[in-house]
Structures are given as C-alpha cells and as structure tokens.
C-alpha cells in the first residue's frame, strides 16, 4: 500500500527533474552558443566565413590566433588594459576601504545622506556623463592618457566598492576589533591586522569585480584615446574592423584572448564567494 502510494510521487519527481534539466540545458545552450560561434569563426579562413556554410569550420586554422599578434599591437593593447584595470582597481580599493570602514563602523552627521549620494552616483550610465568627463579630462590634460582612464574607471566603480565593502564590514562582528584595541592595537592596526584579513573574501570579490568592469570598459576609452598604442584591448580589437573589410576571424580570435582573463577571474571569485573565513571567530 505504501509502495503504491509512493510510486506516483517518485515518477512526478523524476518528470520534474527531467524538466529542470531540459530548462537548464536550454539556458546553457542559449548562453554558450555565441561563444561557440565565436570560437568556430576564429578558426575559419576569411574565404570560408564569406562563403556561408556551416557553423563548424571545415579546417581549423589555429594560426589565426598567432597571426593577430603580428597584425596589430595586441601585446601593447593587453598591457594597456592590465594597467588601466589594475590601476583603477588599486585606486578604487584605496579610497573605498576607508570609506566603507567609516560608514560601517563610525557614526557621523549626514551618514544616510552620504550613502544615498553614493548610490545615486551609480545610477547614471557613464555614456550620459561622457561629454562632461571629456571636458574635465581635457582641463586636466588627461585625454589620450592611460592615467586618465585609470581615474575614470576608479571613479565609476567607487560606489559599488563602497557599498559592497560596507556590507562585508558590517557582517563582521565589531567585537574582534574591540578585542584587538584592548590587545594593544590602535584603530588603523585593528583594521589592518584584524578586520581586513577577516574580510578578505569580500575584498577579493570586490577587487575582481572592479578589475573586470574596468577591463571591459569600452565607451570612455574609445572617446578619450586617439593614440593607437595607448588603446586598451576592448578598443584595440577594432583594428580588425577596418573601413573596407572586417576580418572576422581575427576579430573573434582577439576577442577570445580578451575574455580569457575575465573568465579566469570569475572562476577565482566563485571560490572566494564562499564566506567561510569569517566563521569561527565569534559564536555561532
């Protein structure tokens, strides 16, 4: 009796599970297909791309991935991107950590208003501010300069940094820092020696997010940089998108190189998102 009663339930469960797998598979295919098409196109010859045909290349031309390095200053673009993303990450963190600490641990007049202001600053799309940014950069003589892009990207990511780090710091019991002050730390020491190591997973996550955002930034870099050797990867890839001809195979091969760091960093965040480090210090 119990067996017969159980059977329909398990069948229902199996069907539900199959349905779930089907949906997940669909989502995966839809999401991953563009990347697949990108890889396939990167492996085709120019003639094959323009002759139509199947998605899969007839013969895989791996040399496309090598050719791009000689056809455009790819290494330089990559170095520029690393400098812009790295520099803006460092500046955003250097400003964001003290700001988030103050918002999480101290009380001051206008705190709520400041937090509101920070979030409002995030609401404007960078494109809306483009003309203003250009004018400011021109005044500072920072157009066509990597340093200018470093500052702009740091500023764009500041609000996000402050909010994310504030949340991380607030999630950590203040008891630990108080214990540290009694143990002999001053405020800065208690932050450096206790709070930041404990907040490491949150800090790493924020860090990588900023890096990826800055790495992927396109519009401002396109408008501000004229010198080919100062272009970041996102803008530099356009070299293959010429006036007369678009070299799709090279464009996609370069794009694949551009997304590799992002994919690797995302994989790192995934590991760090497990916020297990903070457990154990305090009760629970």
């Amino acid at each position: 009796m119990t067996q017969t009663a159980k059977k329909p339930v398990s069948t229902k469960k199996t069907i539900l599970r199959l349905l779930l797998y089907f949906v997940v598979l669909d989502v995966c295919v839809i999401t991953l297909y563009p990347y697949f098409a990108m890889l396939c196109t990167a492996l085709k010859s120019r003639e094959e791309i323009f002759s139509g045909g199947t998605v899969l290349p007839i013969t895989a031309i791996w040399s496309n991935f090598i050719d791009i390095w000689s056809r455009a200053p790819m290494a330089r673009y990559m170095l520029n991107s690393v400098m812009i993303a790295g520099g803006s990450t460092i500046i955003a963190m250097l400003c964001g950590i003290p700001a988030a600490y103050a918002l999480a641990r101290m009380k001051f007049k206008g705190q709520t208003a400041f937090l509101g202001f920070v979030i409002v600053s995030q609401m404007f799309a960078p494109v809306v501010l483009l003309i203003g940014i250009y004018q400011v950069m021109q005044t500072l003589n920072l157009t066509n300069s990597i340093l200018g892009l470093v500052f702009i990207n740091a500023a764009f990511n500041q609000a996000f940094t402050i909010w994310l780090l504030r949340g991380t710091f607030m999630g950590i019991s203040a008891d630990m820092e108080q214990a540290a002050t009694i143990d002999g730390c001053n405020r800065i020491q208690s932050m450096m020696k206790v709070l930041l190591p404990v907040a490491a997973p949150g800090i790493v996550t924020t860090l990588i997010f900023i890096f990826i955002n800055a790495w992927n930034e396109y519009t401002v870099a396109l408008c501000l940089i004229q010198d080919d050797l100062l272009k970041p990867l996102t803008v530099g890839i356009n070299t293959f998108n010429g006036y007369n001809i678009i070299e799709w195979q090279y464009l996609f091969a370069a794009s694949i190189f551009a997304i590799i760091p992002v994919v690797i960093l995302f994989m790192c965040i995934e590991k760090n998102l497990v916020s297990g480090l903070a457990s154990g210090g305090v009760k629970g």
Partner: protein, 396 residues
C-alpha cells in the same frame, strides 16, 4: 594586580537625530525601558561608585539592559565615560586608550581572530608589545597548559568547540598578565553542562593567576559562586554591593531579594506591629515576633508600625503540624527533588513556594502530600525580610 576606583561613573547615550525629531513631534520620547531619559539622552549608568581591592573578584549582575556590560566596557575603554572618574591603581584613566590601560577582556562572543591559529591568537597581544619571541612562547605555552588547550595550539578557531574557543579567549587575556581581567558574560554561549564545568575552571584559574577580576553576568549562580563581592544593578543604578552571603541574607530591597535566590523569595502583604516594645509581623492569622537582631535594627531606624511586604525564602518556610499561628496554603503542584520537595501552593490568592526536606527530624516522610492538600506554614523571626511599600528593606 590593581585597585580600581569608580567614582560617580555615568553613561549617557545621546539621542540620535531621529529621536530628537520624534521628541519634538510627540513632546516625549517613546519609553522602551525603565532607564531614565533626559534632554541629554538615555542614562544607561548613573551614580556608579565602587572601590575594588587588589586581586578582588567582583561580579556585576542584573537583568538585561541594567547597565552592567556598559559599565564593564567603560572600564575597558570601549565606551566613553560620560561623567565621573575611573582610577586604575590610583591613576585617572578616563581618557586613556584601551591598549594603555593594561587590562584584558574576554568577550561573550569570544572575539577570536579567525585567520590566526590558537597560538597566534594568544601571542597577538604580546607581539604587539614587541615582546621577546622566547618569552612569548613561554607565556603562551604556560597559559595553554593552565587552560588545557596545548593540543589545539596549531588549530584555527573554526576547528574548536564552543568551550575550547572560550578557553582560547581566556588564554589570550591571561598571557599578558594584565592588571585587571574583565569578563563579559563569558559563559552564556555555552550549554548548561559546559557552563558548570567552565565555572569551576574559572574558580581554579583565579587561584592560579593573581589579578583583579570584574565579571559580568545575568546568571545569579555564577554571581554567587564566583564573586568575592556582587554588585547588583537595575535600570542603570547599583541596587546593592555585598558578599554573596550578605546579599542573600540581607537584601537591600525587593528587587535584590527577588533577583538573588532560586526559587524566588515568597512575598506576603503583612503588617509590622509593635507590641510592648517588641516588633512582630502579622500575616492573616499568623503573628511572628522578630529576632533580637531585627528588633535592634528596626529600633535603630525608629521604624513605625506600618503595612509592609514580607519576604520569606522558600527554604525558610516550615511545615507546622498544628494549625493555629500559621498560614494556610493549598498545594497546586508538588515536585519531588529527591532529598527535598518543592511545594507550589496557594495562600489566600498568593503563590507560595515551599522547600522542605523529604524526611523531617522525626523521621516522618513529607512526600505523602498531594495536590489539593492543605499545608500549615510558619517561619521564624530571624528569616523574615521586611520591605516598606516603596521596596526598601526596613532594616537598612
């Protein structure tokens, strides 16, 4: 090893802007606790006067929100002192940084550093003081030995149980050999069995290390067993300071009498009468002449006959065979505890708890009483606690 003097210590939490606005609107702020609220803010602690002797173990006890932890945090330097003076070893330390007060503190939440091993946790305060490496090693190992955590020195706090974490927290506090050791409800996160065990450990620890202790708890058992003196607090005020026995035997007011002692003291509406120069209490048909000591105290205070609240502890109530000069109560519930019986009875609408030994001096067994049976209760003149209607003990 230090003396502490707290002189008229006060803590005021200023109103936040929102509260000020609410106050303007409503005229008066919402009152969530019994703490006094003034224009300046909520007064969490006031008129706190206490002199703590060298190597004394002081326990601050009271219900939640009474200001005991705030007081401790003011001693630690984690809270600013709004008024009054705090001296450690005769030196005014109101504005001294926590790290320069030479105190150590054990937190309720342990507050261990999760990214450091047990060894590193314990060595941390010593490293900050730039102590010699060998000396750090010696002290950490010695403290670990005392607390029986030597085998866990390489572990991270995450890999320890609650009791072990608490030992590490205590270890981190004692390695520094501080002048004063502060403990903020250190056992309240542990289960009952572990708490009893750790309580005994703290008593042992105290014998091993020579330092002044201030211990905050809401658990009266901890207060009674650990403290040389107990400070009982309520609504930011000290209610009584005394040794555990003093506080138990001579509670200064109704609150203290109810807070200390399990089960709680029984209260009766009674009359204090003076017959031929002798004070006596009368509850219903029962009249008891007070002991000589109480007579003396009341006479010294020139207490007039009046309506009072009479308090008698459950273990001081006596069963009487003959009705007459007794209180009559009906048993609601009888709990057999082995060597004694707890009767929860009703005496004229008042709940009364009576604790009697299972067997009396004559060898008669008491456990034959059942729910609904009548009890004849009496008490002697030296166990009465006489409280005026405002709650103050008339003998004080």
């Amino acid at each position: 090893m230090a003396t502490l003097n707290l002189k008229n210590i006060q803590k005021i939490y200023p109103h936040s802007n929102d509260q000020k606005k609410a106050k303007k609107k409503k005229g008066e702020p919402e009152k969530k606790t019994n703490l006094q609220v003034t224009d300046q803010g909520v007064i969490a602690v006031q008129s706190f006067n206490l002199d703590i002797a060298d190597k004394e173990f002081i326990v601050l006890v009271g219900p939640s929100g009474c200001g005991k932890s705030t007081t401790l945090r003011m001693v630690a330097g984690l809270e600013e002192i709004s008024g009054g003076e705090l001296y450690i070893d005769g030196k005014l330390v109101n504005d001294v940084e926590p790290k320069n007060r030479d105190i150590a503190m054990v937190f309720q939440s342990y507050a261990l550093y999760p990214h450091m091993t047990v060894y590193e946790n314990m060595a941390f305060p010593l490293k900050l003081r730039k102590m010699d490496k060998d000396e750090i090693d010696r002290r950490v190992k010695e403290a670990a030995e005392i607390l029986d955590i030597t085998q866990y020195l390489d572990r991270k706090p995450k890999a320890l149980s609650g009791g072990q974490r608490q030992r590490v927290a205590i270890g981190r506090a004692i390695v520094r050999e501080p002048k004063v050791l502060l403990m903020d409800e250190p056992l309240s996160n542990l289960d009952a069995k572990l708490r009893n065990q750790m309580r005994a450990e703290i008593i042992k620890l105290r014998q091993k290390i020579n330092t002044t202790f201030i211990y905050v708890t809401h658990d009266q058992t901890e207060a009674m067993t650990l403290g040389d003196r107990i400070v009982i607090m309520k609504d930011g005020f000290i209610q009584q300071i005394g040794t555990p026995q003093e506080v138990f035997d001579h509670p200064a007011n109704l609150f203290v009498s109810g807070f200390i002692g399990m089960p709680q003291m029984n209260y009766f509406n009674a009359k204090l009468v003076n017959e031929g120069g002798k004070y006596a209490v009368a509850v219903e048909n029962c009249k008891v002449i007070l002991s000589d000591e109480k007579q003396k105290n009341l006479a010294a205070n020139k207490v007039q006959p009046q309506d009072i609240t009479l308090g008698v502890r459950p273990s001081h109530m006596v069963l009487s065979k003959q009705p007459g000069n007794t209180l009559t109560a009906t048993i609601d519930v009888s709990e057999l505890m082995g060597s004694e019986v707890h009767f929860h009875a009703n005496a004229n609408g008042k709940d009364v708890v009576v604790i009697v030994p299972t067997m009396n001096a004559d060898g008669e067994r008491i456990d034959s009483y059942h729910a609904g049976d009548k009890l004849n209760l009496t008490f002697s003149g030296n166990v009465c606690h006489l409280f005026a209607k405002d709650g103050k003990n008339l003998e004080f």
